[in-house]
């Protein structure tokens, strides 16, 4: 029997929620451990980070100089590098500091900011190294994570379609909260993957999965405005978990984000 592919799970600036999605695969976890050697995963095993990885799952954004160096090390030791979650794929909620007064924010929060060494901005892993696959979401969907691992093992393309969340909402037979209730919803510009979770609970989509392919944010913003949302509120809606995703950032700026 050939050796199992080695899996490493790495954390950058993040909350650990996406890594925990792997542990959340309770029923399938033994299959994952059977198919892959979980060689490094600080949340689950005590092994040290050493050697080459067939698959590296990377969570978090790059917000320190040490991280900016570390990601190159992981890239050099990994065959397939997968970013997991909004932080790793676009910079995450911490990217709200980008373009702002980072030093001022530090002073506001920490008693001794001089002890901290952070970069001016929080950036996506793909801004630093080549990324082979990405899983969106805040947090990622465990179904998509299992699908990605299964696809990598089989050598096939993962089914992580870049279309709108609306398609998933309609497949699920949910009633559109924007049309039927006038609730603001980012579903039409948001990448699928969550199964249209929030509309299933009568809430508009928050855009956790970031921009879909060819997102027409300007048209959606015009409609959100017609539904009574102010430019400031629209800008804020685009400035959350994926604030640093180019399409969402540009739309927030177009709405006069300050």
């Amino acid at each position: 029997m050939p050796p199992r592919p080695r899996l490493g799970v790495f954390k950058f600036s993040s909350c650990d929620g996406c890594q925990l999605s792997l542990l959340d695969c309770e029923r399938e976890l033994l299959d994952v451990a059977g198919a892959l050697e979980i060689a490094y995963f600080a949340e689950a095993v005590s092994a040290e980070d050493t050697g080459h990885y067939d698959v590296a799952l990377v969570e978090g954004s790059v917000t320190t100089e040490a991280e900016a160096l570390h990601i190159h090390d992981i890239r050099a030791r990994s065959t397939t590098l997968v970013t997991i979650g909004a932080c790793a794929t676009s910079g995450g909620i911490q990217a709200l500091k980008n373009g702002g007064n980072a030093a001022g924010f530090l002073k506001m929060v920490y008693p001794t900011p001089a002890w901290l060494h952070t970069l001016e901005s929080a950036t996506a892993i793909s801004d630093h190294v080549k990324v082979d696959h990405e899983l969106r979401g805040c947090p990622i969907s465990k179904h998509q994570l299992l699908e990605l691992i299964a696809a990598l093992l089989a050598g096939r393309r993962p089914q992580t379609e870049p279309h709108a969340t609306c398609l998933e909402c309609k497949l699920a037979g949910q009633v559109c909260v924007m049309v039927a209730e006038g609730k603001p919803c980012l579903g039409p510009v948001t990448h699928a993957g969550c199964g249209a979770l929030c509309p299933g609970y009568a809430r508009g989509c928050y855009g956790c999965f970031g921009p879909k392919e060819t997102a027409n944010t300007a048209s959606l913003s015009a409609q959100l405005g017609a539904l009574g949302e102010s430019p400031a509120r629209i800008a804020r809606a685009f400035s959350t978990f994926n604030t640093n995703a180019p399409e969402f950032r540009a739309e927030a700026e177009a709405q006069g984000d300050d």
Partner: protein, 378 residues
């Protein structure tokens, strides 16, 4: 009183009281059918499988405009809610299904086709536009050289109780497409709601032997000329109330000629390419087929899922997607509906239900876009 069970021949008409709807639903449920009927849920009238006749939406009206739909409680009428977001294709051509399963063992790989569905649907409350759409879908899915056996199995087991409209929503344009508001064929029974309140009754027109057989479960009397006249008058009033229309004369030709019209660029500025119009459209039939495997590599499935021409990957050929721009994708959709569908299937792909207008999050109106595309350049 004559025994109507003997005389319930096709084309004949009867009346029953308003409560007959619940008796009909109860009878269909007792027959073991999966009864799909309008249900008021989450702010809309949706078609769902019911377990109890009391679940059927009643006393509900809708306000349906471009990008806007509101359901309101009003009165006691059974069917004045016209339509909601659910297309009947959901049941005949489901959003997701597994076509094959493959299992690997020491003996090799075993491939097993999913058994044909044993569906026995009763669709209760199919509007004329949707009845026409089921006909369009029948010809797409089973009319060619490669009929879809899964669709055919579901469709053959389906009983259709149509309901003619006496109310039109603002988004309705069936009259211009020639599909409504009164159905003339394709149903087992067609109902027309007459009167209001305690005076509510239903005109029943028989469209098939299976429909005729249902009459014995209902307490019906022969229809009078006045009942028939009231039903005709109601349908005419619903048609007159429609404010939207597409002129079908020369439509396919005009849309074909508009392939380079600048208006496509204008629509593309509004179109979200979110796929909602294609998901709610009762005739959009496109699906994609994907292979999925599990973590152990011992099990794989071929799955079919609804897809949309608004997705970039939909037109992916070697080297990339053919229709990259929003303009190209909207043009593909509208041109197929209103023009090339005719080349392909001998009819138009739109029956005027207006769902794409109401459920477009930004209210793009196919009737207005078609009209703009037929205007010569400004």
């Amino acid at each position: 009183m004559p025994d109507v069970r003997q005389s319930g021949a096709m084309g004949e008409a009867f009346v029953m009281d308003g409560g007959g709807i619940e008796r009909l639903a109860a009878h269909l449920l007792a027959e073991g059918r999966s009864v799909v009927a309008p249900v008021a849920r989450d702010g809309a009238v949706v078609y769902d499988a019911i377990e109890d006749p009391a679940e059927i939406a009643r006393g509900v009206r809708i306000d349906s405009r471009p990008g806007h739909y509101r359901m309101e409680r009003d009165g006691t009428a059974w069917f004045d809610h016209v339509i909601g977001p659910t297309p009947w294709k959901r049941f005949l051509h489901p959003p997701r299904e597994t076509l094959y399963s493959m299992t690997r063992s020491d003996d090799g790989i075993e491939v097993e086709a999913t058994p044909l569905p044993q569906a026995s649907f009763a669709f209760l409350g199919v509007r004329p536009c949707d009845l026409a759409a089921i006909g369009v879908l029948d010809r797409v899915m089973t009319g060619g050289a490669h009929p879809d056996p899964r669709y055919a199995a579901r469709r053959n087991g389906t009983l259709i109780i149509a309901v003619n409209c006496r109310v039109s929503a603002e988004t309705c344009f069936c009259a211009s497409m020639g599909s409504g508001p009164r159905a003339d064929a394709g149903y087992d029974l067609a109902l027309s709601e007459l009167g209001t309140g305690a005076q509510t009754r239903f005109l029943i027109e028989v469209g098939s032997a299976a429909g005729s057989a249902l009459l014995e479960a209902l307490d019906v009397a022969p229809a009078t000329e006045a009942d028939l006249a009231e039903a005709r008058w109601n349908a005419a009033a619903a048609a007159d109330a429609q404010t939207r229309a597409i002129e079908t004369e020369g439509l396919a030709r005009d849309i074909r000629a508009a392939a380079e019209h600048p208006h496509w660029d204008e629509v593309a500025t509004r179109c979200l390419n979110c796929t909602n119009c294609t998901m709610v459209c009762p005739t959009c039939f496109c699906s994609t087929t994907v292979e999925v495997s599990d973590l152990t590599g011992a099990h794989a499935e071929r799955q079919q899922r609804w897809d949309s021409c608004f997705n970039v990957g939909f037109s992916h050929l070697h080297g990339g997607a053919v229709r990259q721009s929003g303009r190209a994708r909207y043009r593909q959709w509208l041109t197929h509906k209103l023009s090339t569908w005719e080349d392909q299937f001998g009819e138009l792909g739109c029956t005027g239900c207006g769902r794409c207008i109401a459920w477009c999050p930004v209210g793009i109106d196919i009737t207005e876009e078609a009209a703009s595309l037929r205007r010569t350049e400004p």
